[in-house]
Structure formats: structure tokens, C-alpha cells
Amino acid sequence: VRGVGAGQPINARSAAERRTAQEERRRRRTAQPEQDGADARQRLRLGAMPVLAVAAALGLLLVALGNDAARDSSSTLQQGLFWVGLVLIYAPIAFRLISSAPGREERIALVLTLATALFAVKLLRSPTGFTRFDELGWWRATHDVLSTGGAFSHNPIVVSTSGFPGLSTVTAALSELSGLSVFHAGLLIIGIARVVLTLALFLFLERTIGSARAAGIGVAVYACNPSFLYFDAQFGYESLGLMLAIVLLLATLRWSDRSERRRPEALPGTVGVLVVLSLMLVITHHMTTLAALLFCAVWTAAILVLNRGRRDDYTSEWLAGPGLPTALIGVGALLWFALVAGGVTLTELGGVFSGMLDSLLNLITGGSGSKQLFSGSGQSEPMAARALVVASVIPPLVAIALGVLKMWQEEEDDPLRVSLAGVAVLYPVTLGLRITLASSETSQRASEFVFIGVSFLAATLIAEWDWTRRSLRRLGGLLAITGVATITFLGGFIIGELQATRQPGPYLVGAEDRSITSEGIAAARFASAHLPPRSRILADRTNATLLGSYGELDPVFGRYADISIPRVLFGGEFDRADRRVVHGQSLAYVVVDRRLSRELPLIGYYVESDEEGAFERRRPIAIESLRKFESVPGVSKVYSNGPISIYDTSALLRRPP
């Protein structure tokens, strides 16, 4: 690795040169990359972007054709169309971003094209309605805002929506005023959030590293995180929260610049943005709030440690730099947690973290084995996908190692850069969490945060590579890095998404999007039209999601009097314990989907992750267990569409068990 224009190995640089390079970076960070409102009419230099946009659109066409074919079956050709489409979207733009030719305007246009095209991939997966668990939960939350006029309705599907109403209120406002459906309003908001996130990340990295090229590369690397393609493009609070957090970091960067704080024309604006966005972030998403708070706190601590003894730096000013957003987010989150969202946050995150700790402890003490890699409950990845996954985690690890080494050799003392490197170093830790099933979720959810640090280090390395060699070798280097980036992107997607849910296809049991069918939607529409709203029901996860959203009913999960509620569905006969559950939980309806007896649930469980037999079943639920409600005295079968039946159990509630 050589420094830009230095022509000598970094470790051979003198301390003075290193200091000069760091000062130059700081100067470039504070410089305004452009000013709006230039007097002359300027020509927008888009370079190769329009051609690459056509390539990306062709990629989308291939993805659509691949998905179309996959709805009936899943042959190699159909999957091939999909994967070639993804490569056609990502690789040409990544190649151009890595090369040194484009100007700043073209790079911005390219990252926006990449963001839009990758968001469209998610849209092509389910273009007519929400199909993911979280999305349907947020559909319900938005629907409740529209129907009740309040922001804090209890949500039986995603409980935390009642504590973080940022997304649902904004979507409800757009839907109410524009006449758009909740689906279309949600798509618009998440699509805009995705584009703004990308642009804000570009600007943040540009100012941090001091190079538009590095910023473009950073965005291309960030798109490789396992959650980017689908999870963070879904209609969910994290998709909006991430955007708010990155914009907040951008404003924090401006606020951290002492010369900026002395400019009266920008000072109130920066403070205003920090205040408004901190509050909005706090009411939008818990994990992103926590991540932003921790990062700002680490950044503040790094300033205090690294700038100790320097009187000319902003350590002398209280709340200067990231101190102000740390205080704003910290106080806001504390109050919000104490007054509004503490319960739902503990319910959701507590379960995730305690599950992770339990599984890790069990693994250490030998109470359980590690997770079998590359396999869900029902499907295992083919060899090529496994190879791609292994190959995809190596480049980030190498980038982190080389990046940290380079910073060490350069005696890097910029607090922000050191903090970002600290975030990147968490990446191997998150990989380690994938050894157990419960901690995999934590690893998955951390990826969008740690990849900010990874993208910083990788972008710094690639952009500062010595590109002054002969053109042929330079081209080879560009192609090689583009290839590595593409492998990382594809592997990241495989890591982040179940094999079955990457593309549409025929019905599968317990397989999230793949379990949403016309029969399920019809049953939910029936419930919405004919059953009392908010009636309490018991159903498998897929039908609970549909009936809890489109059906406007309240699915019930968990335990009652130490009895697992899902056992009502699984038992061979309807016994006294089942009666106790129905009575105690006021279950008015039980929904039975006979297709559950066809195969094991792909995600490992039928109703909830801590039900009896979850992840351990060897045989699917017996059809006799599902048929037992036909002959339970007092239970009526009020609806049937073939696979799905709804049983009215309300008569059982009038008599104690």
C-alpha cells in the first residue's frame, strides 16, 4: 500500500509527512466541496452514469424475468437470471466508482443510481403488497394511526411499533393526504429514505476521508452489508432510522468543525438539524438510536483521549463536536425510554439479547451445539453459495486488518477516523455471533452499523492505493477489486436472506414471504369484513401476521399460566390445558392452516421461536392435530377456503374450563 502521490511506502514516511497528510485531510474535511446557487448556468457532468443506468435497468429486467420464472419452479436458469441481474446492477457501477476517472457529480449520480436500482430489486420481489413479517406489522401500525387518530395503539404483531411511532405517523400522514394506499405511501417514504441515506453516507465519507472517490467506493462497500438489499429496504422503522442516523452524523461532522461553528449563517441551522433529527431518531428506532448514541459517545471519548493537552482543539469547548448530539440523543432516549417506550423496547430487544446470551452460554458450557452453517431449518445452501459466502467475508476482514495497520503506521490521531475504525473492528465479532441460531439475529442486525466502519476503512485503502502504474495493470487492478466487491455484495445478500425468500416461488410452510398466498390474504380480508375487530386469535406465524394486519384481529403469542399457547394447535386432542388457554387468553377464534402438516417450517417454528419443538422437530405437525377442532364441543367452524379454516371458540369463553 502506498500513499497518494507519495510514491513511497507509508511506513517509510517521516512523522512530519504523516502530520502534514493528516492536516491536509482535516483541511479537506472542512473545505466546502461545492456551493449551491452558482451564478452561471452549469452543465451537469454525468459521465458514464446514463449508460450505467441503462445497464442497471437491464439488470432489473433480468431480476424481474428471473423472479417471474421462479414463481413456478426454481431451475438453475431462473436463479441465473436473477443473479446475473444483480451483478449487472452492481458491478458496472462499482467499477466506475472505484476508477479514478469520474468527477464528483458523476459519483453522486452513480451512488444514487445504485441505491435506486437496489431498492427496485426489493420492490420487484413483492410489487403489489407487503409480504414480510415486519412490513405487515408496520402496515397494521399505520392502519391504526389512520383509524384511531392516535399514534400509540397496541400492535400484536410488532409490539415495538407502539413505542416508536415515527414511521407509522409519517406514512399515515402521506396516505391520508395524498390518497395513496398504505403500501404505496410506505414504499415512497422508504424509497426516499434509501436515496437520502446513500447521499448522506456519501457526503459523510467524503468529508471524513476528504475524497469524493473514496466516498463513492465507501457507498459501494456499504451496499455489501447483508441487510442492505432486502432487510433495510423493507417498510420498517430501521429503514427510516438508518437514514436519520446518517444525516445526523453528517450534521455532527459539520458541528464538530470549529470554523463551521463560528459561521453565524450556518450555526443555528446545524444546531437545529441536530435537535430535530435527534428527537426524530429517538421516536423512530431503538437500535439505531442506541448505535448512534454509542458511536457519538465513543467519538467524544476519542476526542478527549487523543486531543488531550491540545488547547487549540475543541476539547476545550463544552458540547462541541459529537458531545452535543451525544447529549441530545442520550437525554432524549432516556426520557423516551422512561416515559413511553421502555416496556416495548425491553420486550423486543430483551428477548433478542437474552436469547443470544443464553445460546452463547449454552455453547460454552456444552449445553448445546453450534448452529450448522449455511442451513436454515428446512433448506441448506448449495456448494456455490457456500463458497461465495466464505469468499465474501474475507475482503472486509482484509480491509479491516490493512486499514487498522495503516492507521497504526500513520499514527492516526483523528478521533473520528479512529472511532470509525473501532466500529469496523466489530465486524469479526458479529461474524462470530453467527455460530448460534439465537445470536445470528444480533449479528444480522449489527451489520448495517458495523459496515459504516468497514466501508470507511475499505474506501480509504482503495482510494489511496497507488493507481499511477501502467494503464493495463491499473485496469487489471480495477477489475480485480470490482470482482472482489461483487463477490462481497452477492455473498452478503446470501448471508442476509434465507435461500427460499430471495426470490418468489411456490408456497412453503413457515417461510415468511413464501408462505403468503391468495388463500391467506382471502381469509384476512374475510376477517376484516365479517369478524369483530381486535378479536383475539390463535394462528400460525404467517396467518397471524396476515390476520393481524389486513384482518384487523389480534393474534396472541407466548404463555398462559405456564402453558405454551401454541400447544393448542399442536396437541393430538383438545384437552383441559387447551381449554384453560382459550379461556384465560379470551381467544375468540383459532385459525388452522392444514398446509402446516405438509412439511417442517423453514424458519424452524410454526408460531413463535420459543414454542415447544422449535428448531428441533423432525416431523411436521400431524394433520390429526389440525383436524381436532372439527369435533370440539362448542366450537363452530365459521370459515373455510380449503387449506385455511377459522374456528369460533367464543362459546368456550362463557364457561370456566
Partner: protein, 262 residues
């Protein structure tokens, strides 16, 4: 240093005018897509633009950064103001319009006040849109066209796969509020056709071994049929059973029963 003359800025005037147009369209019934488009702007663009203009003076930050702040602030204004207001009022269409209009106009006024205090040489210049190479425009339009085609394939593919599921719904529900008394009850019986074609169904309601009613129902694709029936109250020993037959075979069955015997 000379202050700017107190003349309204064009951009702020346009934003305020669009916000007021949004109010007018929201009050008028049935303005169609124009209303929708203007009100989308009122939610996602106008408050954020006005607030960013109030917070940052012209040319104080780069255009790309201003764009990012404008959109994020706009979304935040909607979310935070709704949160405060819903404590006192129900969030409905009128309240949303009033809230966003007020936020936009107040921010426009504040931005205008700040601009009036600017020294003359800092006056916001007339902003002209940058020119783009016509070939680039053609290429981007081509890209949009291909993307629309991809989306169209995805939509049709999804709808076709949904239509491939051929099934019918049958339901039978006690009609609350229409009960005739302790002996008789009213029930609602319905059928939904999702077979993807016109289908003729036969329907039979029985109580014990007694046939209470029969129907022949011919339903077009996607059509629903519903009727009500007065019968003796179903019981555990004599439930009301409704059977849907297609091509002479039992296709669906639903039943109402009474409370379980103790």
C-alpha cells in the same frame, strides 16, 4: 453593508403558494391526481425545504447537503408534530393539512426574515437548473423505460401467480343484533369465488338430518354472494351445517354449534 430589500424570495413564495394550494385542493372534493401530487409535496418536500431555508442561509452549505437536510427535516417535522398534536386531538385529514401548512408557512416566514437581514452581497442568486447532455437524457429515459418494463413484468407475474390459486370461500356466521329470540337465530351465509372463472355452486344448509335450505349460486370470477337464514338456534346436538358443492361433490363445509354441555 446594505441589507436586502424586504421583497419575498421567489423560492419561499413558491413554497408558500404550493402549501396554500394544497389546502385549497384538500378542501375541494375530488381533485384527483393533482390533489394527490400537491399533497405529497406538502408532506414530503415543502415543510422540510422551508425549515432548511429558515435554518441555513443561502449558500451557507452545499446544495447536496441542503437537499439531505431538507428531506430529513421534512420527515422529522411530520413525525414530531404529529406526536405532539395527537396528545390533544385525533390525527385526521384536516389536522394534517393544518399542521403541515402551519409548519411550512411559519418556516417560510422565518426564512424570509433571516434573508432580509443578509448583507446585500450575500443575496441569494438566481438559481438556474444545470444543463444536461441530450444524449444523457435519452439514455436515462431509456433506463427508466426498461425499469418500468421490469416493474410491469413483476406486477403481472405476481397477479398471475395469485390468480393461479383456484379456491372458493364459504362462511357461516351468527348475525348479532338480528337474533329472533331464545329459540330462533339468524345466520349469515356467504360464498366467495376465487376459481379464476365463472362457477356454479350448490349450497345446502342442514340441521341434524333435516335440510333447512338449498341454493344454487352462479358466481363470476372474484364475485361474492351472501344471504341470511333464520333457523332454530344451533345446539351441540343439532348444529347448523352448511355444505358447498361443486360439480356435485362436497367442496367446503362450515358449521355453527351451540355451547358445550357441562
Amino acid at each position: 453593508v446594505t441589507a436586502l430589500p424586504a421583497r419575498p424570495s421567489r423560492d419561499l413564495t413558491a413554497v408558500a403558494a404550493l402549501a396554500l394550494l394544497g389546502l385549497a385542493l384538500a378542501l375541494l372534493p375530488g381533485s384527483g391526481w393533482v390533489e394527490g401530487a400537491v399533497l405529497v409535496l406538502l408532506v414530503l418536500v415543502l415543510p422540510g425545504y422551508a425549515l432548511a431555508a429558515a435554518l441555513f442561509q443561502p449558500r451557507s452549505i452545499p446544495a447536496a447537503e441542503r437537499t439531505v437536510y431538507s428531506i430529513a427535516l421534512g420527515i422529522a417535522v411530520v413525525g414530531l408534530s404529529a406526536l405532539v398534536v395527537q396528545v390533544l386531538f385525533n390525527l385526521d385529514r384536516g389536522l394534517w393539512v393544518g399542521l403541515l401548512l402551519a409548519a411550512t408557512l411559519v418556516a417560510c416566514w422565518a426564512a424570509q426574515r433571516r434573508r432580509e437581514l443578509l448583507p446585500f452581497e450575500s443575496a441569494p442568486p438566481r438559481v438556474e437548473p444545470p444543463s444536461v447532455n441530450p444524449l444523457a437524457v435519452v439514455a436515462m429515459l431509456l433506463a427508466v423505460g426498461i425499469a418500468v418494463a421490469a416493474f410491469s413484468i413483476a406486477v403481472h407475474s405476481t397477479k398471475d401467480s395469485r390468480a393461479d390459486a383456484h379456491f372458493a370461500e364459504l362462511w357461516v356466521l351468527p348475525r348479532t343484533g338480528a337474533d329472533a329470540g331464545p329459540v330462533e337465530s339468524a345466520v349469515s351465509i356467504g360464498v366467495g369465488n376465487h376459481e379464476g372463472r365463472r362457477v356454479s355452486f350448490r349450497l345446502r344448509a342442514t340441521r341434524g338430518k333435516e335440510v333447512v335450505a338449498r341454493w344454487t349460486v352462479r358466481l363470476a370470477r372474484g364475485e361474492r354472494w351472501q344471504t341470511s337464514l333464520r333457523t332454530p338456534r344451533p345446539s351441540a346436538t343439532a348444529p347448523l351445517r352448511v355444505t358447498l358443492l361443486r360439480d356435485g361433490r362436497v367442496y367446503r363445509e362450515a358449521f355453527l354449534t351451540g355451547e358445550a354441555e357441562s
